[in-house]
Amino acid sequence: MTIGDIAKLLDCEVLCCEDKLQNEVHTACGSDMMSDVLAFVKDQAVLLTGLLNPQVVRTAEMMDIICIVFVRGKKPDEAVVQLAGQKNIVILSTKSRMFEACGILYDSGLRGGESASPVGGAD
C-alpha cells in the first residue's frame, strides 16, 4: 500500500510532503502514547494519532516512520507541519476516528508489524 492509497482510503487532506505519496507503507501503528510507539520497531510505517505536539514528529523521526495520520479531523499547527517537512515525513489529516481509521486500513491489508512485547497496546 502506498501513502497515497492511505490518503484515499481515509479521505485525507495532505498537509505536507505531497511529493512522497507514492512511497510504500508496510506497517501501521495507532497510538496517542509516544512511549508505546517507541517500543516497537517497524519498517516504513505509518503512525495514526490524535496527539498534535512536535514530539509526534520527533518520535516518527527516531523510528523512521514515513507518514503521520492525524485522526478526528485534527490538524497540527504550522511549526509542527514545517518540522515534518524538514524530516520528509508526510502529514495527513482524516475526519475518521482512530478506531475507524485503523479498521479501514486493516481491512485493506495493512498490518501492525512486530508487536512481540506484551506491554504497550500501541496497535
Binding site: 494519532t49 514530539q55 518520535t59
Partner: protein, 141 residues
C-alpha cells in the same frame, strides 16, 4: 580510541525542543555511514533519555563516543535523582505528572526502552545529586 566525540546540552525548560539533540546525533551518524538499524536503536534510546531529562531533571548533557566497535552514549543530569532504580526500570512504572502523560509520554516505558534498544545499559542515580545513564550499541554484531 574514539573516531568521533559529540557533546550536546539539553535545555530543560522547553518540552517542544526535546529531541533536538537526538535528531542531531541521528543525522551525524547517518553522515558517517553507520547502518540504519544501529542508528535507529541509538536514536530511540537517546531520545527516550533526552525526554526523561526534560521531564524529570530540568535538562542535562548527552555525550556520544563513536568507536571502532561500538557507540557509547552518556546521559547526565543534576536532577532530583531516582530513589529506587530497580522500580524505575519496571515497564509501566512512572512518576510523570498527568500534564506529561497528556503530551504522549510518561507511560513508564522510557528506561525499559533504553535498555531494550542497546547492548549495554547502566543506570546510576543518587537522590539530590542526579542521574547518569551509560548505553552502548555494538557496531559489528
Amino acid at each position: 580510541m574514539n573516531v568521533l566525540e559529540l557533546h550536546y546540552d539539553v535545555p530543560g525548560d522547553d518540552f517542544t525542543r526535546a529531541g533536538e539533540a537526538s535528531s542531531a546525533i541521528k543525522n551525524k551518524l547517518k553522515q558517517m555511514g553507520i547502518s540504519p538499524d544501529v542508528i535507529r536503536n541509538i536514536a530511540i534510546a537517546t531520545y527516550e533519555g533526552e525526554i526523561n531529562m526534560v521531564i524529570h531533571a530540568n535538562g542535562g548533557t548527552i555525550d556520544v563516543f563513536v568507536g571502532a566497535d561500538a557507540i557509547t552514549m552518556m546521559l547526565k543530569d543534576t536532577g532530583a535523582g531516582i530513589p529506587d532504580t530497580e522500580l524505575a526500570m519496571r515497564e509501566g512504572y512512572t512518576t510523570a505528572k498527568e500534564e506529561i502523560r497528556s503530551l504522549g509520554f510518561g507511560a513508564g516505558m522510557g528506561l525499559p526502552n533504553m535498555k531494550k534498544y542497546t547492548d549495554e545499559f547502566e543506570l546510576k542515580s543518587e537522590v539530590g545529586v542526579g542521574t547518569q545513564v551509560t548505553m552502548k550499541v555494538y557496531l559489528n554484531k
